[in-house]
Symmetry: C2
Subunit: 293 residues, 2 copies
Amino acid sequence: MTGEASDLGGGLQPLERPVPSDLTTLHPFDQATGIRAEGDHLTGATSDLYWAFVGPFGGATAATMLRAVLDHGERRGEPLALTVNYCAPIQRGGFAVDVRLVRANRSSQHWAIELTQAGEGVVATATAVFAERRPSWSHQAAAMPQVRPAAEVPALPNDKSSSWLRQYEFRFASGDPRFGATLNEQPASARSEVWLSDSPPRPVDALSLAAMADAFFGRIFHVRGGLVPFGTVSMTTYFHVDAADLAAEAITGLLGVADAHVFHKSYADQTAELWSPSGRLLATSQQIAYFKA
Amino acid sequence: MTGEASDLGGGLQPLERPVPSDLTTLHPFDQATGIRAEGDHLTGATSDLYWAFVGPFGGATAATMLRAVLDHGERRGEPLALTVNYCAPIQRGGFAVDVRLVRANRSSQHWAIELTQAGEGVVATATAVFAERRPSWSHQAAAMPQVRPAAEVPALPNDKSSSWLRQYEFRFASGDPRFGATLNEQPASARSEVWLSDSPPRPVDALSLAAMADAFFGRIFHVRGGLVPFGTVSMTTYFHVDAADLAAEAITGLLGVADAHVFHKSYADQTAELWSPSGRLLATSQQIAYFKA
């Protein structure tokens, strides 16, 4: 929770009686992705802290939809797969979250989630698979890229930002953003290796993995060296660890590796790997995004 | 359509009058993934030709669900993203396909599809994004692996198979299946490079891309060198070409590259790339699968 006190002004007197914990101890990420029950349905609201160019940071939306299942009374097991479809721009303000258990098996569940705004209709859909993960033979075929440790890499100066960028600390080990006013003729590399953590720090869990899977700049910005209209259309994340594995890692930061295969006819893909500093692959993700360039 | 005549016995006399085209000219893949309207809903049926270990070949299911949207009167644009969740074993026989247009935008559509069997409930769900793809700056960041041409690689002897395997020709340029009775202690490579085509040959389109994205053997079989219980749980495929691009390629075969990142607590991922022989990346896919080993 480091750093959060400053948001309160820094000069507060000790409180005489306990206040609801959600007002004092909730990390901004948990506030931004919070869900509450209103009657027989769930609601949430966009967060200005996690605002992106023309809507909320897509990672916050993904985490919100995942949380709606995680908090559900019938939920069993842990997140295994999450696909989020960003159907339309999400407006500032409130939204309803509809959650449906489509199928429950002995050790897995299939969920469908829809996010709706008044007057806007459905703005996002998701499907999620939850599973009780049993012990098995284990093998990590992929190897973590060898990069400089986070402490040796300068943080991106984002403290002046008014957007979601400020809610993360980015330390680019490679492929740092160098965006200018004119676009590259020759494409630069689409690959970035970046140490990511919430700011202020927050223990990494499935919710933050779902969000960090989207915490990369559009690959089109990197290859063209500048900002162009861009938006994620669909994102799928696989979770390769459960809560016990994450508890054993006990981390607040991770190495994100983002890349792309192809940019064609206004759409491009993005791949992402999220690595624990110990070299464990926590999650993999891919997304398809619109661009105009 | 080469080879299909042999299914009819080879000694048929010329027909005196036209017969419905779906009885004489449909490729087995199109028969297996066919959809028909019955009243106000859509139905299909599993195909014994595309049967896998305990249910239909997942690629056929994916193609069937994609076809239900492709054939829909309100469909605009071309497949961009398809996520299929395999909720439960699909039994031999018929099923209903429910298709819902969740959101239509100016140049994209979001669809939800459910596959239901009587007495079984929902056995598969899918979301699909369709888009009218506009010209843009293009760049293929990924390069096709350098492998031997298909003609120089022997075909996997699968003519004795009674399963979906027989509906494809597999020519392994690397990572061919070497499955024995005992499992490897030391994991072998998870990577395979395989020339794939329908058998008999069929022009590659979005439907066959959706199926071929699943036409790899479980990566767990490769790393452990033997067969173990295995099943795809969720698969997401991105289409990087439209129908015009595919028409320009005019191919019946492609190079599939499959790999995996991690096998842990009974689940493993799989990545797949589908390459045109000319070196063009047609589609990328990932899936998460259950295994018992």
